[in-house]
């Protein structure tokens, strides 16, 4: 039952990153590459029409995590207090940027909210990657110092950084050089994904230029991926065991590599949707591989005293999980139905669509 909920929540999270990922990515593209007002407007619109229905997946993931793994929810949300609140603020800034930019015709007004949308998108992509880095690296559970735990073994608290910026420190912070690399991977991945989205949904004048940009970003991403694989082993020595023991899990890294490899041919692809599918594979494969490498651990411990948090020692009661299964499956199907209805109704290029919020 724990495994079932783990998979469900994993899928919902992956869908969140794929869906909201493209509007984060659109924000990054908007920040760096959109020059004319027409492009800026249409790129903002390609995110603005969809962000709120995409972010409900985050709410759903949060709710399900709370229900199924309450101890994990409590531990991680209080332990990553500062970065989480920063993420909340960025989500708010991004949303108001998108919702307010077109409300007045003054250029200055638009510039302010464009910056708010672009910068928050960039930082959010970075933070989500850093979050994944932290989960892979693990934390000082129980806040152990000199062999003595200051708290129960499932509580911790991370400062934003520690002066060494090293993932191997006894008290690593949220941001260290390893998590930063994962953060950069996330930024580059989502930028590629967002560029694909802009190409797919708009007739912006930079569409053909974006294909070049995707190509270059993909080279950067390949280099970062190779580098991260080397250091991954240092930070979390057991991370390849799962793949050795359960060879079928290799399918996830293969999905990631398919996306990565395919994107080198971005200029030759016949349909815009193909590029978008490839970057979707990239995100899904990346998240699934990271989770699969940890399973059943969901938060490693970096001290010797406390056990890591796993799906088993943080789950709610068996009865609760099975009751939730009944409504969970119905809800899960509904989520996908809503998503498909909405995407079908808003299919095609959105340039002409009325932005009527």
């Amino acid at each position: 039952m724990e495994i079932f909920w783990y998979i469900i929540i994993g899928i919902v999270l992956a869908v969140f990153f794929i869906l909201d990922g493209y509007d984060f990515g659109a924000g990054i593209i908007h920040l760096f590459f959109a020059k004319t007002e027409k492009d800026k407007e249409v790129i903002a619109k390609s995110a603005g029409l969809f962000w709120d229905s995409n972010e409900v997946w985050l709410v759903a993931a949060g709710g399900m995590l709370f229900m199924a793994f309450p101890t994990f929810y409590a531990s991680v949300f209080s332990g990553f207090y500062l970065p989480l609140v920063l993420v909340l603020w960025l989500i708010i800034f991004r949303a108001i940027g998108l919702e307010f930019r077109s409300q007045f015709k003054y250029q200055m007004w638009k510039d302010i909210w464009d910056a708010s949308f672009g910068v928050s998108s960039l930082l959010l992509a970075l933070f989500f990657g850093i979050a994944l880095g932290n989960i892979v690296r693990g934390v000082n559970l129980g806040i152990v110092q000199n062999g003595v735990a200051a708290h129960e073994g499932h509580y911790f608290f991370l400062p934003l950084w520690d002066s060494s910026f090293s993932p191997l420190s006894e008290h690593p912070g949220v941001i260290d050089w390893f998590t930063l690399i994962i953060g950069l991977i996330s930024v580059v991945t989502l930028a590629i994904h967002g560029a694909n989205w802009v190409i797919l949904k708009t007739n912006s004048s930079i569409n053909s230029k974006l294909k070049n940009i995707i190509f270059i970003l993909n080279i950067v991403l390949t280099a970062l991926t190779l580098f991260s694989l080397i250091v991954w082993q240092t930070v979390n020595p057991n991370s390849f065991d799962n793949f050795a023991n359960k060879p079928y899990l290799i399918v996830f890294p293969i999905i990631y590599l398919t996306g990565l490899f395919g994107l080198f041919f971005i200029k030759k692809l016949k349909k815009d949707i193909h590029g978008f599918v490839l970057s979707t594979l990239l995100i899904f494969g990346g998240i699934a591989s990271s989770l699969a490498s940890l399973f059943p651990v969901i938060l490693p411990s970096i001290n010797e005293i406390h056990e890591p948090l796993t799906i088993y020692n943080t789950a709610a009661s068996e009865y609760g999980l099975s009751v939730a299964l009944t409504w969970g499956i119905i809800g899960f199907i509904l989520l996908f139905v809503y998503m498909i209805i909405q995407k079908r109704l808003m299919a095609g290029k959105i340039d002409k669509m009325d932005y009527g919020h």
């Binding site: 309450p70 929810y73 307010f100 509580y155 009661s317 808003m346």
Partner: protein
């Protein structure tokens, strides 16, 4: 430790207060939008459709604000109330996750369809999408209230040796005797808010002598909905809730009514007075003897336990704030009934749009239903103190053990600054929408 509790509570109080400005309008307004759309389907008179679309625009701005201020609420259970989440997540996680999955998704998907899809879908389907938005927002209220009802009156659980609450009976969460009265009271109160908003926009259009046709329609609809909902909020739902408090939380009941001393021959109802916590009495009191006993138990001489009957540690920790919240809510509710009754009378005489003082009153009353809704929630939440889960888990035992008060103060200051900006932008945007008014249908 004391500091941590204080800032955690302050941050939650601030963020939930700001958040609840928005859902209380959207829940009530969605019902009125469904009414406008239904009326249009029946009469084919364009102004009803214009009204539905105009209010959906206002709904959408409020919904966006509700979303961006609502995500921090869900997060805060984990960030600031980790121990509470750990111990009770197996129970309230159910209802909160259901809220996210069923109502929130329903609301947001169909809102987009309502706004963008009128031409695509035709009028009947368009009505249906509006109806689903209404359904989603009320379901949201239902799940949040079922969460809160469990905290006020815990049922259907079992407590393990390690202090964890585990679910024993899922359906008990929804048959909780606290839930239905609280839900109805809350939903009707949100209809009061939306009625006042609709009526006051109507009054504004009539008074400024522009778009007066819409103005009259909004006034009429707002006043009729407002009169009915104001009465139903007080009776039977308000009365029903008060009886529930008297039965299940007697200490809270004494504190919110300001009954310091137990009177054997029956308790008075306090209309005005300031709690004096040093001398344990009300200063400058105006009260009517025996009414409280009668209202609560239909017996003039029924004895009601006063504050003096309870141990200090089981009493709400801020009795004056609780007392004021409750009395402000009740006082405002009474005023709403009066104003709406008067407006309804003139509406019936077809003179409402000519009575300027009353129009001005309706227009400027618009903040007060918001205040009444919020003080109602303060009554529920302050009244539940010193517990998170009534009688079982103290508020002080629920906070995150590792988040220091300095960090919470930092984020609280950030939220205050950000929400001030957000509030300002919201007012500008809604003001602009109201000033422009509905767009007449072009054929």
């Amino acid at each position: 430790m004391e500091d941590m509790l204080f800032y955690d509570r302050l941050q939650f109080a601030f963020t939930i207060t700001f958040h609840y400005i928005f859902p209380q309008l959207t829940m009530g307004l969605s019902l009125m939008i469904v009414y406008f759309k239904w009326k249009f389907l029946k009469t084919k008179v364009d102004k009803y459709n214009d009204a539905a679309k105009f209010f959906m625009k206002i709904f959408a701005v409020n919904f966006t604000m509700g979303v961006v201020t609502g995500i921090p609420m869900e997060f805060q259970f984990g960030t600031n109330w980790a121990k509470f989440s750990e111990l009770t997540g197996g129970i309230i996680g159910q209802t909160l996750a259901m809220e996210g999955m069923f109502s929130f998704f329903l609301e947001s998907s169909f809102l987009a369809l309502f706004i963008f899809g009128e031409k695509l879908m035709g009028q009947k389907l368009h009505f249906l999408t509006g109806f689903f938005v209404f359904l989603g927002s009320w379901a949201s209220g239902w799940f949040i209230l079922s969460t809160n009802a469990w905290m006020q009156h815990p049922v259907g659980h079992e407590i393990l040796d390690n202090g964890k609450f585990v679910l024993e009976n899922f359906s008990a969460l929804f048959t909780n005797p606290w839930l239905l009265p609280a839900f109805l009271h809350n939903q009707l109160a949100s209809v009061v808010t939306s009625s006042f908003v609709v009526a006051s926009i109507g009054a504004f259009y009539v008074l400024r002598n522009k778009q007066t046709e819409y103005g009259k329609l909004f006034l009429k609809t707002g006043v009729v909905f407002g009169f009915i909902s104001s009465i139903l909020v007080a009776f039977p739902t308000g009365d029903w809730n008060a009886k529930n408090v008297a039965k299940h939380q007697p200490a809270t009941f004494a504190a919110m009514e300001g009954i310091f001393h137990t009177e054997e021959a029956g308790s008075e109802i306090v209309l005005i007075g300031q709690p004096n916590m040093v001398e344990k009495k009300l200063d400058n009191k105006i009260a009517v003897p025996n009414i409280l006993s009668f209202l609560t138990y239909q017996e003039w001489h029924k004895q009601i336990p006063g504050i003096d009957q309870f141990e200090e540690e089981n009493l709400p920790d801020n009795i004056p704030a609780l007392y004021y919240s409750y009395h402000i809510m009740v006082g405002l509710g009474t005023i709403f009934i009066g104003v709406m009754a008067l407006a309804l009378f003139f509406l019936w005489r077809k003179k409402l749009h000519t009575i300027k003082p009353l129009l001005w009153t309706i227009m400027f009353l618009v903040p007060f239903p918001y205040i009444a809704n919020l003080t109602g929630w303060y009554t529920a939440e302050l009244g539940r103190q010193p517990y998170l889960v009534y009688g079982l888990l103290k508020t002080s035992e629920g906070i995150s053990p590792t988040v220091s008060s300095g960090n919470t103060l930092f984020t609280l200051l950030g939220f205050v600054a950000l929400y001030m900006l957000l509030g300002l932008l919201f007012l500008v945007l809604v003001g602009k929408t109201i000033n422009e008014g509905p767009t007449p249908q072009t054929h």
